[in-house]
């Protein structure tokens, strides 16, 4: 239940007036047979310690009898007490037998008297308890408490290993993603040929192919496609007899030059310089 409810107080409601005639048959008004007995006892106007249990039992039984004549339904508690009191009464009126087991009639009567006294005592302290000043009824706490604010200072935690592994993992992931999905920036053969023809036109001496190409490599990711297309174009230009191509070893840099008319006689001509640590 989330509905806010008013706090409870302990004002007694429906308190039965003490001077209420005891024999008005209104079982509803009693909190059980002990309560009824206590009321009857009070009406004896004597100290509970001195009440006659016998007289009390008679009054109780008379009360119950009257209720039955009126065909009132009585709760089982009342009838059990009536039976017990009838039994007690018979025991009290008969002489005790020596060999009787269990409590004597006097013990039983005392026990009942004590139970009545105990109930009365609890009622008295209940009244005292209710007489205490109660919070939000008689005494009040601060109406506008000033809340204590929790300030959390974050202390960030990360290790160098966390940092480096995060970096490596994400760089690797990105790098591989690039390989798998390369930019489709591809030189067509025609593009490369045009570029090379323009280049060769200005270079008559041996020139490294990749030196030409580097000017066209806008970013490293294009290097492969530029190289591949250019090489293919170069081979075509060689086949057409327009340029000469030279590579002095596998994977060594490629050198090329325009095949000039005057050079055609000594095709073997000068060889390009041997690359040392290039490539």
């Amino acid at each position: 239940m989330m509905i806010a409810q008013p706090p409870f107080t302990t004002d007694i409601v429906a308190e039965r007036a003490e001077d209420e005639p005891a024999l008005i048959v209104d079982v509803e008004g009693f909190e059980g047979p002990l309560d009824l007995l206590l009321t009857l006892a009070r009406n004896q106007k004597v100290d509970l310690a001195k009440i006659s249990i016998l007289a009390l039992a008679d009054q109780y039984l008379a009360f119950i009898e009257q209720a039955r004549q009126l065909r009132l339904e009585l709760a089982a508690d009342y009838l059990v007490m009536a039976a017990w009191l009838a039994y007690l009464k018979s025991r009290l009126l008969l002489p005790e037998t020596e060999e009787a087991e269990g409590p004597t009639a006097e013990d039983m009567a005392n026990s009942l008297a004590l139970r009545l006294k105990r109930l009365e005592a609890f009622r008295a302290v209940a009244q005292e308890l209710m007489g205490l000043p109660q919070l939000s009824r008689d005494v009040f706490a601060r109406g506008a408490p000033e809340p204590i604010v929790d300030i959390k200072h974050p202390q960030w935690k990360a290790t160098l290993y966390d940092l480096l592994s995060a970096y490596a993992a994400q760089r690797q992931k990105q790098a591989l993603a690039h390989v798998e999905l390369p930019h489709r920036t591809v030189w067509s053969l025609a593009d490369a040929r045009t570029a090379l023809e323009r280049l060769i036109g200005s270079a008559t001496d041996w020139t490294r192919l990749d030196q030409y190409l580097i000017a066209y490599v806008v970013e490293p990711s294009q290097r492969a496609t530029v190289m591949a297309s250019s090489f293919a174009s170069t081979l075509e230009l060689v086949r057409e007899g327009l340029i000469e191509l030279h590579q002095h070893a596998a994977f060594a840099p490629l050198y090329l030059r325009k095949r000039a008319a005057e050079n055609q006689a000594d095709a073997s001509g000068r060889t390009p310089p041997v690359a040392t640590n290039e490539g």
């Binding site: 806010a4 706090p7 302990t10 409601v13 005592a121 009622r123 302290v125 919070l135 009824r137 601060r142």
Partner: protein, 234 residues
């Protein structure tokens, strides 16, 4: 009242309060600010280590004893409350309350003065079987709680009072329950009663008694849990 007399009194007081140790300021600030009673340990956290918090609290209590707001000790914790004689003035602040039935009141008293106590024991004292609603209503107030199970056939639940109970009635502890001495001194609970009728000093010490065993998981799902949080919302 004549202005002169008042201003003189105030002037004197001011000169006195200037001598007040700073820790009394700290204490009163914390206690005024808090919505809940605070225990000495919590207060001590904010105070210089060498300070005798209990002594300072008693000094502060004395200072406020004659004021409209008093420093009181409730359930071993400290809080300011309006003076008890001024309730007439503050009726407007009073929260409308739901009234407890006579059965509920008696049951509450029996639980308070006789705890830990089972439902059967309550019924025995009252001489009537408890209606289901009575304990439910009391549980709803947050003033009582099931605290364990009696080591007896049927393992009945035992009930006791909560800190909210002490707070509501402004009690420092159960030992200051009104009428407790008379109740014990009346000789009602000495050897003349059949076994089981003896009344020990009530205690809300959460430690289980010898004849109690702990609640199990699930016990608190039956709507029997102390609803401390709900009480705070009310």
């Amino acid at each position: 009242m004549p202005r002169l007399a008042r201003s003189q009194a105030v002037a004197e007081e001011t000169s006195v309060t200037e001598l007040r140790p700073e820790h009394l300021r700290l204490l009163e600030a914390m206690l005024f600010a808090s919505a809940e009673p605070l225990d000495a340990a919590t207060l001590a956290e904010r105070l210089p280590e060498e300070m005798d918090v209990e002594a300072a609290l008693e000094a502060l209590q004395q200072e406020y004893a004659t004021r409209g707001v008093n420093l009181v000790r409730i359930a071993g914790k400290w809080t300011f409350r309006t003076a008890t004689d001024l309730s007439w003035l503050l009726s407007r602040e009073a929260v409308e309350t739901r009234k407890l039935s006579r059965a509920a009141l008696e049951t509450l008293a029996i639980i308070a003065y006789h705890q830990p106590v089972t439902r059967a024991e309550i019924e025995d004292i009252r001489g009537v079987s408890a209606s289901k609603g009575t304990l439910d209503v009391l549980l709803e107030t947050g003033w009582i709680r099931p605290r364990g199970r009696r080591k007896a056939p049927g393992r009945p639940l035992t009930f006791g009072t909560t800190e909210a109970f002490l707070a509501h009635f402004g009690l420092e502890s159960l030992s200051v329950l009104p009428g407790l001495e008379e109740l014990k001194g009346a000789g009602l609970f000495d050897g003349r009663l059949p076994a089981g009728f003896a009344m020990p000093a009530p205690s809300d010490d959460p430690a289980l008694r010898e004849d109690e065993e702990p609640l199990e998981e699930g016990d608190l799902d039956l709507g029997l849990a102390p609803r401390v949080s709900r009480v705070d919302e009310e």
